[in-house]
């Protein structure tokens, strides 16, 4: 079964500092991994995805994620956090086989960027 885990319920970071939101995965075969962001009272917005190729994936709003096969991780990063980055972040992976269109999400990590 495909699964992702987000070990931190909340991450606090000062504005201007680099941020990292962690995700680990357990998937069979080649992993496909996604990051979504959820702002209050709004739907999930796609940030980036890893399919194959470069281990560093660049996405929307200055975010990037680093795929690390040996550590089975796909951490989300940004060099300089903005207050407007404060939101709920979800790591996700598609199912396998006939269920590959479903997304399985982590529990989410609440990011708070402090001015």
């Amino acid at each position: 079964a495909q699964s992702v885990a987000q070990p931190e319920d909340q991450v606090n970071v000062a504005e201007g500092n680099p941020l990292t939101v962690k995700c680990t995965y357990s998937v069979s075969g080649n992993p496909y991994l996604f990051w979504y962001v959820q702002y209050p009272n709004r739907g999930l917005q796609f940030l980036l995805k890893y399919i194959t190729g470069d281990n560093l994936v660049k996405g929307s709003y200055g975010f990037e994620a680093e795929f690390n096969k040996s550590q089975t991780s796909f951490h989300l990063k940004k060099p300089s956090a903005l207050v407007s980055d404060s939101a709920l972040y979800f790591c996700a992976a598609p199912g396998s086989g006939a269920g590959s269109y479903q997304l399985t999400f982590g529990k989410g990590t609440k990011l708070s960027v402090i001015p």
Partner: protein, 117 residues
């Protein structure tokens, strides 16, 4: 262009009542998904449509839940005899094709917050 829209944004109902939640996907998207997000959790898959047919309804929790997409566009999630445990945010998403999630991003609507009292 317009994104995925969902109505109502909020729905409060009494235990035992019937509710309908509507999703209007992005024009041209053939795949439509329903997810349920409980407080403090990530979204959980409910059902997936490819065109008019429900290709996979394995995520529906029980037979009180049903969804339709009669013309391959708008979808309605129907919940009979609601229970307090049904309280959650119901999210709808659409994508160009649903053959594999890794090929096409899913675009989510703002959700309907259902509260069963």
């Amino acid at each position: 262009g317009a994104g995925v829209s969902q109505t109502p944004s909020n729905k409060v109902t009494e235990k035992g009542k019937y509710v309908e939640l509507r999703c209007d996907p992005i024009s041209g998207h053939t795949a439509l998904y329903w997810y349920r997000q409980s407080l403090g959790q990530g979204p959980e898959f409910l059902i997936y449509f490819q065109g008019t047919g429900a290709a996979d309804d394995s995520g529906l929790p029980n037979d009180r839940f049903f969804a339709v997409r009669p013309e391959g566009s708008v979808s309605t999630l129907k919940i009979q005899r609601t229970e307090r445990g049904d309280s959650a945010v119901y999210l709808c998403a659409s994508s160009l094709q649903g053959l594999a999630a890794n090929d096409y991003e899913q675009y989510f609507g703002p959700g309907t917050r259902l509260t069963v009292t």
